[in-house]
Amino acid sequence: MTTLQVRYFAWMRTRVGTGAESVEAPDTVRDVAGLMDWLEGRSPGHAKAFARREAVRIAVNQDYVEADHPVAKGDEVAFFPPVTGG
């Protein structure tokens, strides 16, 4: 099992229903894409949040990454829409 801190922002957060959760992902989850597949099954809210993958941006340990980026125990993985600050 891989313990991960998962964070959601903006409409990802409102769909999932929480801004942060600690999850125990199975060992089959090796990268962010795998994590998204697994998270999707956790609730209808999760499913809705991850429905349009192309609209989801990813950060691992607060750096932008692509979906093929590996995840490891203790990582902070964040999901959010394209940024709209400034």
């Binding site: 964070r7 922002f9 903006a10 409409w11 957060r13 950060a59 607060q62 932008y64 964040a78 959010f80 829409p81 394209p82 940024v83 709209t84 600050g85 400034g86």
Partner: protein, 152 residues
């Protein structure tokens, strides 16, 4: 170099004065202030709430600022970005750059705001006539940022 992410308002004049405080090597200061603009058309007020990713935001802003200092000969710079609920007319963001040279100050200021818009983890939730809505990212912002891509 200074980056601040805060709920409170700021004073652009004070920020600019602080950049040049007691220094005589600065010939040019450029600044940009972003404000909440009232929705046109229906004349309705649209306030907004800015959400951000604490920790990553500061980190990204510091990276963007360091990048500006790498590209231009800057003497000083500052980035201030607010979060929380903001009403029309309120300031959202401020960037200022100081250099001996006018061109460096002007270009790096435009660079900072263009890059910040596509790289700093902020999200706007607008309150309009039809309820709350997350603002979509704009293609024009991506284009503005792409202008600063280096070939190297």
């Amino acid at each position: 170099m200074a980056v601040r992410v805060q709920r409170e308002d700021f004073d652009p004049g004070q920020e600019m004065a602080a950049l040049g405080e007691g220094r005589h090597d600065i010939g040019a200061v450029a600044s940009f202030t972003g404000l909440v603009r009232e929705e046109k058309g229906a004349g309705r007020i649209s306030a907004m709430t800015l959400e951000h990713y604490p920790g990553m935001t500061e980190r990204k802003l510091e990276e963007i600022e360091a990048e500006a200092h790498r590209r231009w000969p800057l003497e000083a710079s500052v980035i201030v970005h607010r979060y929380g609920r903001l009403e029309p007319g309120e300031r959202i963001v401020f960037v200022a750059t100081a250099s001996s040279h006018r061109k460096a100050a002007l270009e790096s200021c435009a660079f900072l705001i263009d890059w910040l818009k596509t790289k700093a983890p902020f999200w706007k939730l607008e309150e309009g006539a039809g309820g709350e809505q997350w603002v979509d990212a704009r293609e024009a912002d991506d284009e503005a940022a792409a202008r600063w891509a280096e070939d190297a």
